[in-house]
């Protein structure tokens, strides 16, 4: 039981990170019907940005409080990653928007490879470590050193709290403001939205920027949790987050978060109770089973055929 609780905490932490990345996939798919395969690599780039800024802040400027440093890192990573994502959309996707359906998809795969190689060349092929921070551990149950202790680290608390706060903010924007309404309008009928005065290109750009901002939060939190990052670290989390988006119902934002949490839990529980070798296989098997019985995902709306 204690072990299960501990794995639950670990799984939700991992799932939060997947959920944040998954929102970028699901929003972009919702608005222009394209799978942005470079999104996982945008996440990886944001992790590097966070690492570089963190090292700069702590060594060059010697910021005293680790929390202030972390906050600054997160804000800076959000801004810089947005610029990256905006540029990718502008250069690699927008010129192909009127083209055949597979063109932007292939362009996205190319962009993914480009980002990976670019970081490999500029940052080197090895793991980049970060000095461990925030190692304080709270004991929810049991004594330090006991085998059945249930613990939560301050890192895990920060990860879950940051995820919850940012999701609420972006959820509010998408549901309640003119921007969100415009996004939903563009999603349903791009041309008609333009004729009502909605700047479609700008709305799509903002969607990419929001996706990148959430991915950069995920990147910062990932760095905080694991302490290392490498040029190919975008691939597996990217694929997992895409899986989470499909599992939750692609196009649905709550679905993406739910899918992310589920994938995180499945992976951690499978590793703890069955075998850590097959944790990825387990996550994808669940995806296949769910899609057989619920083709539009857990929270997705069934596609209505237009006649």
């Amino acid at each position: 039981m204690e072990n299960f609780l501990q794995q639950l905490i670990n799984g939700l932490t991992l799932g939060s990170i997947y959920g944040l990345i998954a929102i970028g996939y699901t929003m972009v798919f919702g608005i222009i019907g394209m799978v942005n395969f470079a999104h996982g690599d945008v996440f990886m780039v944001s992790t590097f940005i966070a690492l570089i800024i963190f090292l700069a802040l702590t060594t060059l400027f010697s910021i005293p409080s680790i929390y202030i440093a972390l906050f600054l890192v997160m804000v800076a990573a959000m801004i810089l990653t947005s610029v990256w994502s905006w540029a990718i959309e502008r250069l690699a996707y927008r010129p192909l928007r009127g083209s055949f359906r597979l063109a932007p998809l292939i362009s996205a795969i190319g962009m993914s490879i480009f980002l990976m190689n670019f970081v490999q060349v500029t940052q080197g092929p090895r793991n980049k470590p970060m000095p461990p921070i925030l190692e304080h551990v709270f004991y929810l149950y049991g004594q330090p050193g006991a085998a059945n202790a249930v613990t939560i680290s301050s890192r895990q608390i920060i990860i879950m709290a940051a995820t919850a706060i940012l999701l609420t903010i972006f959820w509010y924007v998408v549901q309640k403001t003119a921007l969100g309404r415009a996004q939903r309008a563009v999603e349903q009928d791009r041309k008609m939205a333009a004729l009502l005065g909605v700047n479609v290109n700008r709305t799509v750009s903002i969607t990419f920027i929001i996706g990148a901002m959430l991915a950069s939060v995920a990147g910062t939190l990932y760095l905080l949790q694991y302490g290392v990052v490498r040029f190919d670290d975008g691939f597996i989390p990217g694929v997992k987050a895409f899986t989470a988006a499909v599992l939750g119902g692609i196009g649905s934002i709550p679905g993406a978060v739910l899918g992310g949490l589920l994938i995180g839990l499945i992976e951690v529980l499978w590793a703890a109770y069955v075998s850590s070798d097959y944790k990825n296989a387990a996550a994808f098997s669940i995806l296949i089973i769910v899609l057989i019985f619920m083709p539009s995902g857990l929270l997705g709306r069934p596609e209505v055929e237009k006649v």
């Binding site: 924007v173 349903q188 004729l195």
Partner: protein, 308 residues
């Protein structure tokens, strides 16, 4: 003197639209009067919808000028000066003029303020009736919400703008008799209601010119009566000029101030409903005969037949 000659809101000048070898619109010139209901009629395939698509930025015309004077009278000299500069719009003492053929679609809607509807209904079916009308006020709200940043902080000026937008949407729902369906998905409404909701949505953008593509298509007589009174209400109570494509001649003759007739992409008649109704060219086009003299023969024959 007719209003479309003394005070035109839109001047279509030598407009042509070619698709490869096909000439859909061939050197068409006419004016749309400010505050008029102008009907654009013609047999199927005459180029009416193509012309609409040029005006609303769906297509870039192959050649020609679309001078749009939103508020005041546009002087011929000023229009010519603007044409030479290559810019999209000029701010004059008498009001702004826009060169619609140079503008992308969303700017035509947002800046020049031309709204349109389509032959087939294009509501956002998954959004509620009310939301459809609020989306149409997007630009005002986007400014008020400071591109969502002020909206996030829920500042009072943004909340006031949102409330005003929702009030305007509700007022339009009441005007088209749909206030009780405000929170239903637009796709679930009956066909006639969707038609009127689409016109209301176009009106929520605050247009100076409203372009309606066959709004009475598929409506029963009661519904097309409701539509005609809605259009008259828009013309009388709002400063909105209306350009309408319509096949239902009873609607056209009842509501329009000015009728423009196209056939095979060319303009064949332009005048008051009475003038057009009696124009031999129009009769020839509608009966499918080659010239006006033959048409008179056919009309005379029909008259004889019906008197027998």
């Amino acid at each position: 003197m007719n209003r479309w000659m003394t005070d035109p809101i839109l001047r279509v000048e030598h407009l042509s639209m070619r698709f490869g070898g096909l000439i859909a619109v061939n050197d068409v010139s006419f004016s749309v009067g400010r505050g008029d209901i102008t009907a654009l009629i013609g047999p199927n395939g005459a180029g009416k919808t193509t012309l609409f698509n040029c005006i609303t930025g769906f297509y870039k015309p192959t050649q020609g000028r679309l001078a749009f004077a939103r508020e005041g009278r546009a002087d011929e000299r000023e229009v010519r000066a603007l044409t030479r500069t290559g810019k999209r719009h000029a701010r004059l003492a008498s009001g702004d003029i826009y060169m619609l053929e140079r503008m992308p679609d969303f700017e035509i809607a947002a800046k020049a303020r031309v709204a349109r509807t389509f032959q087939n209904i294009r509501l956002f079916a998954g959004m509620t009736a009310l939301e459809n009308l609020v989306v149409a006020q997007h630009n005002a709200l986007m400014h008020a919400s400071g591109w969502s940043i002020l909206g996030l902080l829920s500042v009072p000026s943004w909340r006031r703008a949102e409330t005003a937008a929702i009030e305007m949407a509700r007022a339009w729902l009441a005007r088209i008799g749909l206030e009780h369906r405000a929170d239903d998905p637009a796709g679930a409404l009956p066909y006639g209601d969707q038609r009127r909701l689409e016109i209301a949505r176009a009106m929520c953008t605050g247009p100076a010119l409203l372009c309606l593509d066959e709004p009475a298509a598929g409506l029963n007589p009661r519904e097309s009566g409701e539509l005609a009174s809605l259009l008259r209400l828009i013309r009388d109570e709002h400063v909105t000029s209306i350009l309408i494509i319509e096949h239902d001649m009873s609607v056209v003759m009842k509501i329009s101030d000015h009728v423009v007739v196209l056939d095979y992409g060319a303009l064949i008649s332009d005048g008051t409903p009475d003038y057009v109704r009696n124009d031999p060219n129009v009769i020839a086009a509608y009966l499918g005969v080659s010239d006006a003299a033959e048409a008179e023969q056919v009309v005379a024959e029909i008259a004889r037949e019906s008197h027998k």
